[in-house]
Point group: C2
Chain length 242, copies 2
């Protein structure tokens, strides 16, 4: 089963203070780029895999989605999501994406933010997502980029000329990566970008778009520390069609 780090007290406390937890979508600098990958939402039945506090679920409904089913492994996050949601067309379910039953053909859009890099059996999950979508349904995923996840020492460093670099190693060695982020011992599953995309195609999806998120020039002008995000990608997005 997937590690449920979100219900570790230190992790949950830290995560709850991130800008994206406090301010929702406006606190996520990559949101405009992700939003641009979404299909028309009007009337869509949506599945939110790793729904967290429900920010995306509520936004999807505000854009005309007919319903949203959010699934998350974290009871803490779901409790907060329920507090923040007054909408009977949004339902939340406590379940583990590694094994959750997703049904057959009942959704028009499967959406997932920052969850799939925790999944051990990604091929299995993608097969269940494919079956859960109606023909023509879409999958839109936002996940941690494998360049960000791969290294033994995943922090920027500087060379003897003072030039910042990302010390990439083990990119082609797939398997768990354990880091200390908000709490010790957070376990993620590293896969090459090609492996993830091949799993998507092998599940029966037609790949439509792949994005490696980079901040805009305007965003860097406002927050110069974001220039580092041009050195290595933190987020991978992709869109596919059943």
């Amino acid at each position: 089963m997937t590690q449920n780090i979100y219900d570790t007290p230190d992790f949950f406390a830290g995560y709850s203070q991130l800008p994206r937890s406090v301010h929702g979508l406006d606190g996520a600098p990559e949101w405009p780029a992700l939003r641009a990958m979404l299909p028309p939402l009007d009337g869509a039945r949506m599945l939110d895999l790793g729904c967290g506090f429900g920010w995306y679920a509520r936004w999807m409904r505000s854009q005309g989605a007919a319903s949203v089913e959010g699934i998350d492994v974290s009871e803490n996050m779901l409790a907060r999501a329920r507090e923040l949601t007054q909408d009977p067309a949004i339902t939340y379910r406590h379940d583990d994406l590694e094994t959750a039953v997703l049904g057959e053909g009942a959704f028009d859009l499967a959406f997932s933010v920052l969850a799939l890099h925790y999944i051990v059996d990604l091929a299995g999950l993608l097969g269940r997502i494919h079956a859960a979508l109606a023909p023509g349904g879409r999958l839109v995923v936002h996940m941690e980029h494998p360049i960000f996840m791969a290294p033994s020492s995943p922090d920027f460093a500087k060379d003897n000329k003072g030039r910042r670099f990302w010390p990439l190693d083990r990119y082609l060695e797939e398997g768990p990566r354990t880091t200390d982020w908000l709490a010790p011992g957070v376990v993620k599953q590293h896969r090459m970008l090609s492996t993830t995309l091949n799993h998507v195609m092998d599940a029966g999806f037609a790949l439509e778009r792949v994005e490696e998120w980079r901040p805009t020039d305007a965003a860097i002008a406002q927050a110069p520390r974001m220039a580092a995000e041009r050195d290595r990608p933190m987020f991978l997005f992709f869109a596919a069609r059943r």
Copy 2:
């Protein structure tokens, strides 16, 4: 126009001595993985974009391809290819892939090894390749991986624990990269992996497979220095269908 570094005397002399130039496909450790991406070749009309010495063209014919048209910008390489080839079904053309006329629907397989990372107008070339293929025709590409191409200083380094790493930077800054390899001032065109794949899909292709080449355990046992190839990918392959 594409830089024609292959006709620089130092570059050509150095390139001619690489194992893959001397021994052909057997000198390229990634060849078995690339071969596995090829469709059935029997009767196929093949276009080889950046054909070099013609090693792939001759192999394709040995596997039943009906014809091969090889295109290369290097007159030196084409002269050697013609010396090595006695087969009227293989033709060689001196042309620049940036602008070469590829015709309409006359090929079943477009194949390219270590050439597309030199192309400035990749979207334009992919559009011409798409038009040159018959419906159902395949595109199989082997090119330099953007992780390999991106850095300011594209060489392995070691940290203060003696651990080898690849100093990645500028991955999300697309544009020319100039390196000294066999000759000074070799110019390649860096694009993110996502950009290359989106160009393929935008040209009308259905993406079928993406591979980031890694040496097998057996290859590393034979040549331990190849273990470094697990730290960062050197080669990107992809297969797509018109």
